[in-house]
C-alpha cells in the first residue's frame, strides 16, 4: 500500500532492502512516511530535494539519524513477526539456515539506512564532513578492522572444526580466540571513545565546533557515535552468543558434526557484524585524510 508524500521539502533518509522507504519532513520533527511508496514518488521526492530551499531549511540539523533507527526498527519488528508466524505455521525449529538468512537480512537495513543517510549529508556538506572526520583516530579504526576480519577467520575455523571433528577441543579453542578478539575490538573502541571525550567531540554532551567544521561537523559526529555504538552493541551480542555456545550447547554436547546449525547461525551473525565494519571503516576513518 502506498501513501502520497508531501508536496515539498521532503528528504529520503533511509532505504530498506525491500523497497520500504522512510521519508521525513525536513524539520526532522515528524515522521511523515514509513510505508512502501511507489518508485515515481521517490523520484519526485528526490527531485523536490534538489529544488532551492529556504535558508532555514538549508541549515544542518544535528539529529536526523533517529529516522534511520525508526525505519530499521520497523523492519526488524515486521520480520520478527513473520519469522514467528512461519515457525508457528510450518513448525520449523530454530535455528535453521533460513532463519540465519532472515537474521542477516533483518539487520542489513539497520546499518544500510544509516549509511544512506550519511551519504546524503556527506554530499551536502563535503568540506565540513572532511574536517570533522580528521578528529577520528585512524590507527584505532584500522587496528579494529584487522581484529574483526581475523575474528571472522577464527569463527570459520571453529565452524569447520565443529563440522569435521567429533572432538570439541579444536572448536572450543577457535571459539575462545574469536571471543577474545571480539573483546579486544571493544577495548580498542573504548579507548577511542575515551580519546574522543578528551577531544570534546561528543555531540549534545560536550561538543566543541572546530574551525572549518561548521555546525555540520556535529552531524558527522552524530553518525560516528550512533553507527559505532550500534555496531559495538551488535558485537557485544555476538560475543554473548559465542559464550552461550561455549558454556551452553557445546558443554552439553549439543554441537556435533551431524548438527552444528546453531553455531553456523552465530557465525553468520558474526560475519554480518564484520561486514558492517567493512563499510563503516571508509565512511568514518578515511574521509578528509588527503
Amino acid at each position: 500500500m502506498s501513501r502520497r508524500l508531501p508536496e515539498k521539502d521532503v528528504v529520503i533518509v533511509g532505504l530498506g532492502w525491500t523497497g520500504s522507504i522512510m521519508a521525513l519532513d525536513v524539520s526532522f520533527q515528524e515522521v511523515v512516511h514509513s510505508a512502501p511508496i511507489e518508485k515515481a514518488e521517490v523520484v519526485k521526492a528526490l527531485a523536490i530535494r534538489g529544488e532551492p530551499r529556504s535558508p532555514e531549511l538549508g541549515r544542518p540539523r544535528p539529529y536526523p539519524l533517529d529516522a534511520s533507527l525508526y525505519a530499521a526498527g520497523l523492519r526488524l519488528l515486521r520480520s520478527q513477526h513473520s519469522c514467528r508466524q512461519r515457525r508457528r505455521l510450518h513448525g520449523v525449529p530454530w535455528p535453521d539456515r533460513r532463519h540465519a538468512a532472515d537474521l542477516k537480512g533483518d539487520h542489513a537495513p539497520f546499518f544500510g539506512a544509516l549509511i544512506f543517510t550519511y551519504f546524503l549529508y556527506r554530499i551536502t556538506y563535503p568540506h565540513e564532513f572532511a574536517e570533522a572526520a580528521k578528529d577520528t583516530v585512524l590507527w584505532c579504526g584500522t587496528l579494529n578492522f584487522v581484529i574483526l576480519v581475523t575474528s571472522s577467520l577464527t569463527m570459520v575455523f571453529a565452524i569447520n572444526a565443529a563440522a569435521q571433528d567429533p572432538r570439541p577441543n579444536r572448536m572450543v579453542g577457535w571459539l575462545i580466540v574469536t571471543a577474545v578478539l571480539g573483546c579486544a575490538f571493544l577495548v580498542v573502541k573504548g579507548y577511542e571513545y575515551y580519546l574522543d571525550v578528551q577531544d570534546k567531540v561528543v555531540p549534545v554532551v560536550d561538543f566543541e565546533i572546530k574551525p572549518g567544521e561548521g555546525s555540520a561537523g556535529e552531524l558527522f559526529c552524530v553518525f560516528y557515535w550512533v553507527a559505532t555504538g550500534l555496531h559495538a552493541i551488535h558485537l557485544t551480542v555476538g560475543i554473548g552468543l559465542v559464550l552461550y555456545m561455549l558454556l551452553g550447547r557445546i558443554r552439553r554436547g549439543r554441537i556435533t558434526p551431524s548438527y552444528f546449525a546453531p553455531l553456523e547461525v552465530v557465525g553468520i551473525y558474526w560475519s554480518f557484524v564484520d561486514t558492517v565494519w567493512l563499510f563503516l571503516y571508509p565512511c568514518i576513518y578515511l574521509v578528509g585524510r588527503s
Binding site: 571472522s152 577467520l153 569463527m155 563440522a163 560475519s271 563499510f279 571508509p282 576513518y285 588527503s290
Partner: protein
C-alpha cells in the same frame, strides 16, 4: 568469512579462507592508502568499491 549457507563446512579446507583473509587485509591497505591520494570525489567511490570487493571475497 565465506560462511554463506552454500559453503559446506564438512568439506571446507582452511587455505581458501586464509587466502581470502590476506586479500581482505591487503585491499584494506589499498583503501587506506587511497584516502591520502587526494582523489576528491572519487575517493569514496574507490573505497566503497573496495569494500564491496572485500564483501564479495568473504
Amino acid at each position: 568469512m565465506m560462511i554463506w549457507p552454500e559453503v559446506d563446512a564438512r568439506r571446507a579446507r582452511a587455505l581458501p579462507f586464509v587466502i581470502a583473509w590476506i586479500v581482505i587485509l591487503l585491499t584494506a591497505g589499498v583503501s587506506a592508502w587511497s584516502a591520502f591520494l587526494g582523489l576528491g570525489i572519487w575517493a569514496p567511490v574507490v573505497q566503497f568499491g573496495i569494500a564491496a570487493i572485500q564483501n564479495r571475497v568473504r
